[in-house]
Symmetry: C2
Subunit: 370 residues, 2 copies
């Protein structure tokens, strides 16, 4: 089975590393001119001239990046199976569509408004009550195209700074923590759920994910399972889907956004779960039985951003699993992650602090249950 | 770090899969004309014309196959670091040298004789007491170049069948089980030991390895650790070394043979240990800290030989981890292995039986502790 992957970054790289043991081969289609997968066959196609030969080589197509032209993915679907489908991409790459889907399925979200003018942004900020977050409805990725308004008077500046014709404005949520749920749906409709992770972002970039959470009520996990199952079934989805949520003081969940792919907040599963999110995505899209998603032990994923630190020092931490992406250092760039595993959450937190101290640009880890 | 690997089979493939997360790149030198690694850069060099360009590409050299000309490895050592060294290859590819080393280090072995003529073989068979095993001193691999003599009168036929000028003749050992110990020595001399595995061979090919063993006395593990540490230190060895042994009725250990490389009886570590033998080999040869060798849970490696069965059925077994080598089916060929993991040995044995039933050519699993 030769699997075609749209995008050729670290997610594709890790998909391939999970897929070789299933006897999969990988062909990546990179449209950026800067592939970093470093594995498999990488076709650079900045002018859409190589799509046909890419499609000739592959048996089915998946993607590691959802900000692709929907028309491109629809065209591919005419020729080869694509999982997840173009419909998932269409919804996920547009925050207005995404919120409408959440609303339709009864998945609660922070209060929001759609605006198409700076004046409307100001009105929305006033109605929702500042601070608010304004985001372009499209092309959002890792905190880009966003602005926080502390006062409705900042609306015109924010509008210009974001520079998009349509924004979604969201009320700030007084959340206890950011969490995510990752689930996998097979071609036959079977769904499995990973234990939820608690995520710490810094400047819009994920820094730490810890799973399972020591203090998570089973009922909250079941609520999240219900939300993501509704999304999976509604979209007739095949593969890994990620839903990021806020958990509020009363334990409730509010959906933030979703990603139709393997996700940074699921990297802990590579060393902490029976089956990694990457293997389960590949199992799903090939129609193979899904693997057990249970966590083996408490695990924390630490992102390595900007600068790498000394791999030897990281590897000296017991039960530390380093996953480097073989990319050049650059401020804000995801270069690697470390999965730390420990028998208890207390021991895990000590390891996380030890690891963070070895990474030049790591913020202090802070978890809600400390 | 670009790592050069002599040999391009499944062991090299799995080394590469473990090394990409360390940001290693791999160049394989295949001298057989039939590489199967399917990953990294593979240079086919059946006429020794590409060695220089191979060496230009790599920072250090290791190997997945020890039956290489010692002179070749010595020549490579003049240019690039080679781990383990040519001395390890020289000793391991010659059973007479190997036994002499065991003797020198006080590592017990089955009684043996070296013979250079059919008449000497007959005498040895008489003195040791049949049955005996006769093996060519060189090029032994997976049971090839061996014969069992049930009677000294079979000596001339066996001599001709093996067709080598120098044989080692070994007394049959009334063993309870075959076991192996795998250890890793770093560049700084640090040594770590994996839990011993119990191995089941069939027609000279490994079929099952289970680790840890539920009934292994700590003292036996320590004895094995001591034997392999003596070998590692004596050879100033860097990397993974495997020592196969027989365990006798009184619990004692007799060394059978060693392999200067990652080993089939250590594949369980990919899913059953904190750090796999492949990652630890790469850590060792790069001078990185060695990883924890502890087993997470009872694990059994099931070799898939000759025919693959249905991957979907295998993956439906809970906590089954399939590792396919992407090779064509052929009688006696190692095509894949399955690592089965379970909370208890009783549950593990049930999974092993379920898995064996799915493999067309699998013999019945039999473990000494059942």
């Amino acid at each position: 089975m030769n699997i075609g992957v749209l995008g050729a970054g670290q997610l594709g790289r890790m998909l391939a590393l999970a897929g070789y043991p299933l006897a999969n081969r990988f062909t990546f289609l990179d449209t950026t001119g800067h592939p970093s997968a470093g594995i498999g066959d990488v076709m650079i196609d900045t002018d859409r001239k190589h799509l046909d030969s890419f499609l000739e080589q592959v048996d089915l197509v998946t993607y590691e990046f959802e900000h692709l032209p929907v028309s491109l993915v629809q065209a591919i679907e005419e020729v080869k199976p694509v999982y997840p489908s173009s419909e998932a991409i269409r919804v996920c790459q547009n925050r207005a569509e995404e919120k409408a889907l959440f609303d339709r399925l009864g998945i609660p979200t922070p209060a929001y408004r759609l605006v198409e003018h700076a004046d409307e942004l100001e009105t929305a900020a006033r109605e929702l009550g500042c601070p608010v977050v304004a985001k372009s409805v499209t092309e959002g990725y890792d905190g880009k195209g966003q602005a926080v308004l502390r006062d409705p008077a900042e609306a015109h500046d924010a509008w210009r700074a974001i520079g998009h014709p349509r924004l979604i404005v969201e009320a700030f949520v007084d959340f206890v923590r950011e969490v995510s749920i990752i689930a996998v749906r097979g071609r036959d409709g079977e769904v499995v759920f990973y234990p939820m992770a608690e995520n710490q972002h810094e400047d819009g970039i994920l820094r730490y994910s810890i799973a399972p959470m020591p203090d998570l009520d089973d009922a909250v996990q079941q609520t999240a399972d219900g939300y993501i199952r509704a999304l999976l079934d509604e979209l007739d989805y095949v593969g890994v889907l990620t839903l990021e949520l806020f958990q509020t003081r009363d334990g409730g969940l509010l959906a933030n956004e979703m990603a139709p792919r393997v996700h940074n907040s699921g990297h802990w599963s590579m060393d902490g779960a029976v089956t990694s999110q990457f293997e389960n995505h590949l199992r799903a899209i090939q129609g193979l039985p899904l693997g057990d998603t249970a966590a083996r032990l408490p695990t924390c994923m630490v992102n390595v951003i900007g600068r790498e630190g000394d791999p030897a020092e990281i590897l000296a931490i017991p039960d530390a699993h380093l996953h480097r992406y073989d990319k050049a250092e650059r401020a804000g760039r995801k270069l690697a992650h470390v999965n730390l595993v420990a028998p208890t959450h207390a021991e895990l937190l000590a390891k996380v602090r030890a690891c963070a101290a070895l990474l030049p640009d790591a913020p202090a880890p802070r978890f809600s249950f400390e």
